[in-house]
Symmetry: C2
Subunit: 247 residues, 2 copies
């Protein structure tokens, strides 16, 4: 009997070409679909994720759904997948979901976190999950700049896809910037994100933190609706999808 | 002018043949000495560590000393080293030390930590710093077994070097076994450790945790002074040198 399952997946995106399957390239979706097809004795299985992460981006809790025809219990599916998936992809949870549960359409919000190392040394153990700027960014200026981005805005200046035809209006509820001992984390929550949006936000906040332009210039960047005015796209390796919200 | 410097070093030991330099092999000591020799324009520099970690073992705070003839400040030395060392070795701190400071002879104690993943999934982000047993060990039995090891004992049964000629008597002050959410950490503090000693202790505690023999059997293992009676040597990747104590 075919049932709909909700999966929660963690991955170290370092060596992958992102979430979405691509011919002849290693992707997270591709790995998951291969293992599940084998498990069910099918040629193909479609795993639908809550979103697509870019090449090199990590996830602690990506959510996906998949229709499976199997007699196995959810825990047995999880254990089977973890046994056959590479050690940089883990299935944290498998649960039966209602037939109408759709990981992308039902997603209400997402939390991403970007981590910067700003200590005096180097981040040996977490080096693949942080980026190391070559200056110490001014936190207060970054926080002030972030306030201009919170709210419902046209984020066209923060969209990596120049040929985006659909609406580039999104709502960002919260940008929290915290200094821990040797790291700065930038946590962004919103109802949806454009391509590279979080990384361009981080790249722009870092320009402010470096003093390239003042916090209030971010308002002009937003209004210009021109990608060229925002900061560079921050490197993928510092970014991690932390959580996807559902009802 | 030549001064004596104390270094605190962190490393991910995964791809190294241990601390101690060996011809034609990548080692931590070898990497440090190469960078410092270059910095000082010398052919060789001797970096003396507090101890030797095995191939694949990690350190958060290995301590070493080195005599250097340089005009650079300690922070400049640290920054130079971090720039030229690979990204899996970091110098956390460089300080001038008294001429008589010796990282090995003056070390009063060491703390090692072994980490096991015992959750339902897989440890994606820390997978190189944990081992995953194929059973869930019984914590209470392991704690009871550990008590037999605390104190001053002849640890010959827990020594990986069968041809060890010197005394195999050591004092273990504390073995702390803690379950966090998905991990068990075994923290061992002692005045000195024999080759593979912590890993054989962990391997033996795991046999108790699996039920192969009861906690009190550890007393017999100690008394037998025979390596063959103790458990297997636990894999290197779960082990990390956490701290070295000095006066």
């Amino acid at each position: 009997m075919t049932s709909n399952y909700k999966l929660i997946i963690a991955y170290d995106g370092t060596r992958y070409f992102g979430w979405e399957h691509q011919p002849d390239k290693e992707t997270i979706q591709g790995k998951l679909e291969t293992v599940l097809a084998r498990m069910c004795g099918k040629d193909t299985v479609d795993v639908i994720g809550a979103g697509r992460t870019d090449a090199g981006v990590h996830a602690r809790a990506m959510v996906a759904h998949v229709l499976l025809d199997t007699e196995m219990t959810p825990d047995e599916i999880r254990d089977y997948m973890n046994r056959y998936l590479p050690d940089d992809i883990a299935v944290r949870e498998v649960k039966k979901a209602g037939d109408r549960f759709h990981a992308r359409y039902n997603a209400l919000g997402k939390t991403y976190r970007y981590t910067l190392y700003v200590g005096d040394s180097k981040p040996v153990f977490d080096r693949k999950y942080m980026t190391v700027p070559d200056f110490v960014p001014a936190l207060d200026a970054m926080c002030a700049a972030a306030e201009y981005l919170v709210g419902k805005h046209d984020f066209k200046s923060f969209c990596g896809n120049g040929r985006m035809k659909k609406s580039t209006v999104r709502t960002v509820d919260k940008i929290e910037i915290k200094r821990n001992k040797d790291t700065i984390t930038i946590t962004v929550h919103g109802n949806g994100f454009l391509q590279n949006m979080v990384r361009i936000i981080v790249g722009t906040l870092l320009e402010v933190g470096k003093g390239t332009y003042p916090p209030e210039h971010v308002q002009e960047i937003l209004e210009a609706k021109d990608r060229r005015l925002a900061g560079p796209t921050a490197p993928a390796q510092g970014l991690c999808l932390m959580k996807v919200d559902y009802d």
